[in-house]
């Protein structure tokens, strides 16, 4: 039985449609991440799941129960907010037990759960402080404690890490992941940070303009993006999207890419593919390699003209990023740190065509 099932959900403010026909289903223990640029409707969707925003159409089921018209307090959910939303006049302990107090849970149980959760989150020394005396990371922990103590069917996280500094964000991310594994909790998590989405999720929903672009595991989303938006949004540096022309010859697919000041670059995909004449070739930076003389990578550029002019070289410690120009677009390759590549010199590059994506330039949809 799915723990959360969203069925043809619609949300509109008057004539303005915020969410279009949303269908999502997750199982118990899933970590679902809603990701997209700001204004894509991901937070609105989360608020709809929480019951904080009424929906215009469709159904929401939590643990098999239709909660579409049910108020937030009766949905068996707990939520962590972007601003933490701690009650400013209450101590940390009171913040965490407030929900139980409101629901008439007896004192002994409250104490026991408070002790349990504060040990789990290592906030025992903070219990008598007010939120104003806590750092951002500590507030974050308290906000999570307030959710954990409720032991709900579904946890909702609304960009919980976006107010933390970069270093703390990474460590809290790991902690959230660990918490998820330890508790086997079912979580819906909203973020605009694609790295957060990739690292945390068991399932990702990529959204844009109130429409779901793709649902899948992190690997599916990363390796087989459904369209050019997803390809561009997920991954850093972003996937290279290079306009190209296609010709099928001798059971192979020849792909021609315009080059500045030289004949087009021709690479060969050994599989005959049913592609239109004009395509957009999507290739991740790490799938562009240094073409060594005897390598037989599937997409090694042909002949003497296989070199491309390197414009910029950016050493980044573990990797070296090289930027060149192909098909009128800047193309980034992620190479080994010890690569001998130099700026303003031609260099042979090879494309791993087993991992590329082909997109239609008309509607941006995936073709292979």
């Amino acid at each position: 039985m799915p723990i959360l099932e969203i069925d043809h959900l619609q949300k509109a403010y008057g004539d303005t449609h915020i969410l279009h026909d949303i269908n999502i289903s997750i199982d118990e223990g899933d970590f679902l991440v809603l990701v997209g640029p700001s204004g894509c409707g991901k937070s609105t969707l989360l608020n709809c799941i929480a019951g904080l925003e009424p929906i215009t159409g469709g159904d929401i089921q939590i643990a098999g129960r239709n909660v579409t018209g049910v108020s937030p307090k009766d949905r068996d959910i707990a939520m962590v907010f972007q601003s933490y939303a701690l009650y400013p006049t209450m101590t940390v302990a009171k913040n965490i037990t407030f929900g139980m107090k409101v629901r008439g849970v007896d004192k002994a149980t409250q104490e026991r759960k408070l002790a349990e959760v504060s040990r789990q989150l290592q906030i025992e020394p903070l219990l008598n402080r007010k939120p104003g005396q806590l750092s951002g990371g500590q507030r974050q922990r308290v906000a999570m404690g307030r959710a954990l103590v409720r032991d709900p069917k579904l946890f909702l996280f609304d960009e919980p890490l976006s107010n933390l500094d970069a270093k703390l964000r990474v460590s809290m991310r790991t902690e959230i992941k660990k918490l998820h594994q330890d508790l086997n909790a079912s979580i819906v998590y909203v973020t605009h940070d694609q790295i957060e989405a990739m690292t945390l999720a068991t399932k990702i929903v990529v959204m844009k303009g109130g429409v779901i672009q793709q649902i899948g595991t992190p690997a599916e989303i990363y390796n087989r993006p459904a369209n050019m938006f997803v390809a561009d949004f997920m991954g850093s540096p972003a996937m290279n999207l290079i306009p190209a022309r296609v010709r099928v010859e001798d059971g192979q697919t020849r792909i021609e890419i315009e080059r500045d000041g030289d004949a087009p670059l021709v690479i060969t995909d050994p599989v005959a593919r049913d592609l239109p004449a004009d395509i957009v070739l999507g290739v991740r930076p790490e799938d562009i390699h240094e073409a060594t003389g005897n390598a037989h990578l599937p997409g090694t550029a042909h002949g003497a003209g296989g070199d491309v002019m390197i414009e910029i070289v950016e050493p980044a410690g573990a990797d070296t990023f090289a930027v060149t120009h192909l098909g009128g677009k800047a193309v980034t390759a992620r190479l080994r740190a010890e690569s001998a590549i130099r700026a303003r010199q031609p260099f042979p590059l090879a494309f791993d065509l087993s991992k590329v994506s082909y997109f239609s330039p008309k509607d941006g949809e995936r073709l292979n």
Binding site: K73, Y87, R146
Partner: protein, 284 residues
């Protein structure tokens, strides 16, 4: 350096001059209230009393005649307390609830409602006198203290609602949402989360309302009966009902007594007043 110092001294000089000028009426009132009538007749207005007497204060409090009633300000002072305290409390509580709704529980047409309530702040007192008199008559409250309380609550709501709404609007909506998910309802959230952070704005509302209601004369004179006149009306009557010699010292003492409670409220809670008025304007 020297020109700077001179400038500074000049500035202080001017400020002190203005302060003296501003304090002059209070000074005259205080000294006059402590002089005997004889001394007032013979001495100068600005001179200190040669012999301090509290008799005028005693007379103003308990024996001065307001019209035909010669019991001093005392009964009217209590009328004012009985009127102002409930009126201040009721208008502050309702204003807090109104502000809470307008800031955090927006409903369709909320802005229009809020504008209408704001408009209430700008209606001149005189306009409502006749309809209000009729209204009080219909409710059976004409000439009573509850009637006065009712009028002051209605008239104060515009301001108290505005105060609380502007204060609560700075509180992030996520706080209400968190409490909703935690299971708290409308009143629980108000009581447990909003009221505890409201001390500065409650102070503003109380000071404002108390000053307005205590000092009001027009409603007091229009809607009170023989036994329900507030202190401001009685003060007017005392000052106007002298026979023969005008007892300036008693008048002054009565005026100071009538003004004391508002003064006291400012002294006790004044620093919160400024803090509350500016709260929310800076990110805190």
């Amino acid at each position: 350096m020297t020109s700077n110092t001179a400038l500074r001294w000049g500035l202080y000089g001017i400020l002190i001059l203005f302060a003296l000028f501003y304090l002059m009426p209070l000074f005259v009132m205080l000294t006059t209230s402590l002089k005997s009538l004889e001394e007032i007749r013979t001495g100068s207005l600005l001179s200190l009393p040669r012999e301090i007497t509290f008799a005028p204060w005693a007379e103003a409090w308990s024996t001065a005649c307001a019209g035909t009633q010669c019991e001093g300000l005392r009964p009217f002072f209590w009328n004012s307390v009985l009127m102002a305290v409930p009126a201040v409390m009721i208008s502050t509580i309702i204003g807090a609830l109104n502000g809470y709704v307008f800031a955090q529980w927006k409903f369709r047409g909320a802005n229009l409602f809020f504008a209408a309530i704001l408009f209430g702040c700008f209606i001149p007192f005189q306009v409502v006198l006749l309809p209000m008199a009729q209204m009080l008559g219909l409710m059976g409250l004409a000439g009573t203290i509850p009637g006065l309380i009712f009028v002051h609550v209605i008239y104060g709501l515009g301001f108290t609602t505005l105060f609380f709404r502007n204060y609560y609007v700075t509180i992030p909506q996520e706080l209400v949402r968190a409490a909703k998910v935690d299971g708290a309802g409308f009143f629980r959230i108000f009581w447990s989360i909003f009221l505890p952070i409201s001390l500065p704005i409650i102070t503003v509302s109380v000071i404002w309302q108390f000053t307005q209601i205590w000092n009001d004369f027009l409603f007091g004179v229009s809607f009170s009966g023989a036994g329900s006149q507030p202190v401001t009306v009685a003060l007017n009557n005392i000052v106007n009902s002298t026979t023969g010699v005008k007892a300036y010292n008693v008048d002054m003492a009565a005026a100071i007594i009538a003004a004391l409670p508002t003064l006291l409220v400012y002294v006790v809670a004044g620093k919160y007043f400024i803090r509350g008025l500016t709260a929310g304007s800076v990110k805190g």
